[in-house]
């Protein structure tokens, strides 16, 4: 009996689908859309079928180190056959130490059928595998992927929740904001970071409103991350953030403002930086 033959039977279906009416049950096991035709400007060596088959064999082998490297190599190849080899390996089951890099590799060149395979792994008993699956899902716009990421925010393991929070930020998953607020309420740093990444001026106002509802340190951390975002602005919006931090009594507030001052050049002068300096001086100088 060969893997290929088995995969050709019903196993592919069950492996890619979750079986009993799960959201992925109807997902087609088709291939990625063909890449847009590239202009043949530079000649690159295109790996042959043999090389890919070699990686696939290594991926399914007992040498987990070689299998993990094969997963990386397959992920680096923007070829449907390489992608299929990864899907195939994941469908047939991989040891945890191989599954995590294979999941990461799969998302390097994302394709719609990947979502079902990734979702199958977000419930894995190994938390590194779950974290890798969630991180990978950030790349996909599929609502099922977003739902899985949000579900990951409820995970019992902090490492997995952290991965889900990062995925929510990376995938700009707005529906994750509410559970992220709940995690912020529990003082979780990855949630602070994710909310900061997602924040626009409206969300900043909502975050600032959390004063007294969430731990001061986590709130200061979150607002501090917003200030450090290069893409956040204009400066009047940053001033609002600085003022929100100023209301926080926890030493983390001073740390956040100090960090902001440190990473922001003096010139051209920014009113938000000046405001932060005045606040830090006032706080540290005892208000003199």
């Amino acid at each position: 009996m060969t893997r290929r033959r088995l995969r050709g039977g019903w196993v592919l279906g069950l492996a890619l689908c979750s079986g009993l009416g799960g959201p992925a049950a109807a997902a087609p096991a088709g291939k990625r859309p063909p890449p847009a035709p590239a202009a043949p400007k530079v000649k690159v060596k295109v790996p042959g079928a043999e090389e890919i088959a070699g990686y696939a064999t290594a991926l399914a082998g007992t040498d987990v180190e070689a299998a993990a490297k094969a997963a990386d190599a397959l992920g680096a190849l923007d070829l449907p056959a390489a992608h299929d080899a990864l899907l195939d390996g994941l469908a047939m089951g991989l040891p945890a130490t191989v599954a995590a890099p294979a999941l990461t590799a799969l998302a390097v060149h994302p394709a719609p059928p990947d979502v079902a395979a990734l979702i199958r792994y977000v419930g894995h008993h190994n938390l590194n595998v779950r974290a890798a699956a969630l991180t990978a899902l950030a790349t996909y716009a599929d609502p099922a992927a977003h739902a899985a990421v949000i579900n990951g925010l409820h995970d019992a393991a902090g490492l997995v929740r952290g991965a889900a929070a990062a995925a929510a930020a990376k995938g700009r998953i707005r529906s994750a904001i509410e559970p992220l607020f709940q995690l912020l309420g529990r003082g979780e740093e990855p949630a602070a970071r994710a909310l900061a990444a997602l924040a626009d001026p409206d969300l900043v106002a909502k975050i600032a409103d959390q004063l007294g509802k969430v731990p001061d340190a986590a709130l200061a951390q979150c607002l501090g991350y917003i200030l450090k975002r290069a893409d956040f602005g204009p400066d009047p919006a940053r001033v609002e953030v600085v003022r929100a931090i100023a209301k926080i009594q926890d030493p983390a507030a001073i740390a956040a403002l100090t960090d902001y001052i440190d990473v922001t050049p003096k010139n051209p002068p920014r009113p938000s930086r000046g405001e932060a300096e005045r606040l830090v001086e006032a706080r540290l100088g005892g208000g003199k």
């Binding site: 799960g22 040891p95 419930g123």
Partner: protein, 606 residues
């Protein structure tokens, strides 16, 4: 006439002649035991009513209740009217015995008789030592006294307190009972002497050959004696002295109600007064019969009062009904022939239908903050006319299971066992509620799990499925409630006629736990078994995916319980595809050795 008969007559004549003298009624050799003729003669002298009725002169059913507020008092409660007749302060130190128009009890150190009309003291006297017990009939009061090694029973005129006669004993006497002109007196835990109440003359004596005689109980028409082991109805057949020859019953008392007794222990000095022993009592009535054979229970059943609860059983010991008194314990109960009447510690009075447990009467002593110590009922034949409340056996059983009083943990086991025998989803829900109760004892939860598994009630499936809706969730702070037991219970439904839609829902719910990272391996094994048990093949793809996902996993793949479970499940409804899958996994070099071995063991070459 027999020699004993002649001796009895002579003795009786002497008693009448000397009035009140002591005579050797009790002794190891002073009576001819188990004389059928003497017994029949004695029983024929009883003056018993045609139908059951209270002994009191007005024949109105009453409860005489000892209460303690600031001081002790007696409340006479008219059951038919549902209100107290009177209340008098009285330092009650014993059970209250009810006579024709008086009651008698120990107050302080004195035997005191009070009239039934108003509770006024009629007479009082100091006895010959320590009181063992009292009894009364229409005209007389009887008391057994103990002083050092000397025991004595004395009879007193109910109207004046004058001593009518007394009899010494060579050994321990128990608390007496009186009925229709006879006095029953236990002797040395082995004998029951039957005396003429008017003269004290010994009429007959029973010797328990294969059972002690330490319990006595009378109604207006019947008398019962026996021990902790069983109960005899006093009749002509009692002369055999044996269980087999007498009208005897040894009822099935559930082990969870192990403090239950058939009546007051006549020899226990503590039970001279009302005690907690009164709260664990068999309540029965039997039919008079001349036929040989065991006691025939009226209504073909009996009841057990056990603290806050009353359980009704069929003659075979099967639970028929349950009653749970709200908040407080019932301190005294009595079977009137038509209802079981009880008084609770807070003064509630309740009457239950013996066949169904339906509440037929509720009342209150109106004693306010008083604490009820105990009660004696003179209510034989009482049948309240008020309408029955609905029968609430399930609610009562549920109430018992949820009772957090640790004293009743074993009773809770009985309740869940009884609940589990009832069909319906609601019952399953209640049983699951026990599992979800963090304060429920573990032993009770173990019992519930066993019962859920054994229950095999198809209508429970939706309830069990609903129970699976809760998952481990960090944000919601939830954990699955009894996932393993629920899965086990679902597996127990294998082969039962199940609704396909409900099965599909259950499979989805089970798969959510199959795929959940937080599902612990022991629970996972049960989830797999449950899916296999009810899936009918629909579970195969999910289980196949699960197998592939973990076959090379260092942890799960090597688990000694998971491997055989998943192999069994896939093999059960598996077709060629599943067997092909199992063989592939067995041959895959990455497959963990324990799993590969499980496949080889579970899937012989075909």
């Amino acid at each position: 006439m027999s020699r004993v008969g002649a001796r009895v007559i002579v003795c009786a004549a002497l008693v009448v002649a000397v009035g009140g003298c002591h005579h050797p009624v009790f002794g190891l050799t002073t009576s001819n035991d188990n004389d059928a003729t003497a017994l029949a003669s004695a029983l024929s002298r009883r003056q018993l009513p045609e139908s059951p009725m209270p002994l009191g002169a007005t024949h109105q059913p009453r409860a005489y209740v000892a209460v303690q507020g600031g001081a002790r008092a007696i409340v006479a409660f008219e059951l038919a009217a549902g209100k107290p007749a009177w209340r008098v302060d009285a330092d009650v130190q014993s059970r209250i015995a009810v006579g024709g128009d008086f009651i008698v009890e120990l107050e302080g150190k004195q035997l005191v008789a009070r009239d039934q009309a108003r509770g006024a003291v009629r007479w009082k006297l100091a006895g010959a030592g320590t009181l063992i017990g009292t009894a009364a009939d229409r005209d007389r009061a009887y008391a057994v006294w103990h002083d050092g090694s000397h025991y004595e029973i004395a009879a007193y005129d109910g109207a004046s307190g004058g001593k009518l006669w007394a009899a010494d004993a060579e050994g321990a006497l128990g608390a007496p009972a009186a009925q229709g002109g006879l006095v029953y007196v236990p002797f040395f835990a082995q004998w029951l002497s039957i005396l003429d109440g008017k003269t004290g003359a010994p009429l007959a004596r029973l010797r328990g050959i294969d059972e002690q005689i330490s319990m006595l109980h009378t109604t207006s028409q019947a008398a019962y004696f026996g021990s902790k082991q069983g109960v005899f109805r006093l009749d002509a057949r009692s002369a055999s002295g044996t269980r087999a020859g007498g009208t005897y019953a040894q009822l099935k008392i559930p082990p969870q109600l192990d403090r239950t007794s058939y009546g007051v222990d006549s020899y226990d000095p503590v039970q001279l007064a009302y005690t907690a022993a009164d709260r664990a009592r068999v309540l029965l009535r039997s039919e008079a019969t001349d036929a040989a054979g065991p006691m025939r229970l009226a209504g073909d059943g009996y009841a057990i009062h056990y603290f806050r609860y009353v359980f009704g059983f069929g003659a075979g010991g099967e639970l028929r009904w349950a009653y749970s008194h709200p908040r407080v314990e019932l301190v005294s109960t009595e079977h009137t022939g038509y209802v079981i009447v009880g008084v609770a510690a807070n003064g509630d009075v309740v009457a239950l239908e013996p066949q169904t447990g339906a509440v037929r009467f509720r009342g209150s002593l109106g004693t306010g903050a008083d604490h009820v110590l105990g009660a004696t009922f003179d209510a034989d034949g009482w049948s309240p006319s008020s309408q029955s409340e609905p029968i609430e056996t399930v609610a009562a059983l549920v109430g018992i299971t949820r009772d957090h009083d640790a004293r009743f943990d074993r009773v809770k086991e009985l309740a869940v066992q009884a609940l589990a025998k009832l069909p319906g989803a609601e019952v399953t829900k209640e049983l699951l509620g026990v599992l979800a109760d963090p304060r429920a004892p573990q032993k009770l939860k173990d019992t519930v799990v066993e019962l859920l598994v054994a229950r095999k009630d198809p209508s429970s499936l939706p309830v069990l499925t609903a129970q699976l809706a809760v998952h481990t969730d960090y944000l919601l702070r939830t954990e699955p409630d009894a996932l393993g037991p629920v899965a086990k219970a679902i597996a127990g439904l294998a082969g039962a006629p199940l609704d396909p839609k409900q099965v599909a829902d259950a499979l989805v719910a089970l798969q959510s736990h199959l795929d959940a990272p937080a599902t612990a391996t022991p629970d996972l094994v049960l989830v797999i078994a449950a899916m296999s048990a009810i899936g009918g093949g629909a579970e195969r793809s999910a289980l196949g995916s699960h197998l592939l996902l973990y076959h090379a996993d260092d942890d799960l793949g090597n688990d000694p319980s998971w491997g055989p479970a998943i192999v069994r499940a896939l093999d059960k409804h598996g077709g060629p595809g599943e067997h092909e899958l199992l063989r592939y996994v067995a041959e895959d070099p990455r497959t963990q050795p324990a799993l590969a071995a499980a496949i080889r063991d579970g899937l012989p070459a075909r």
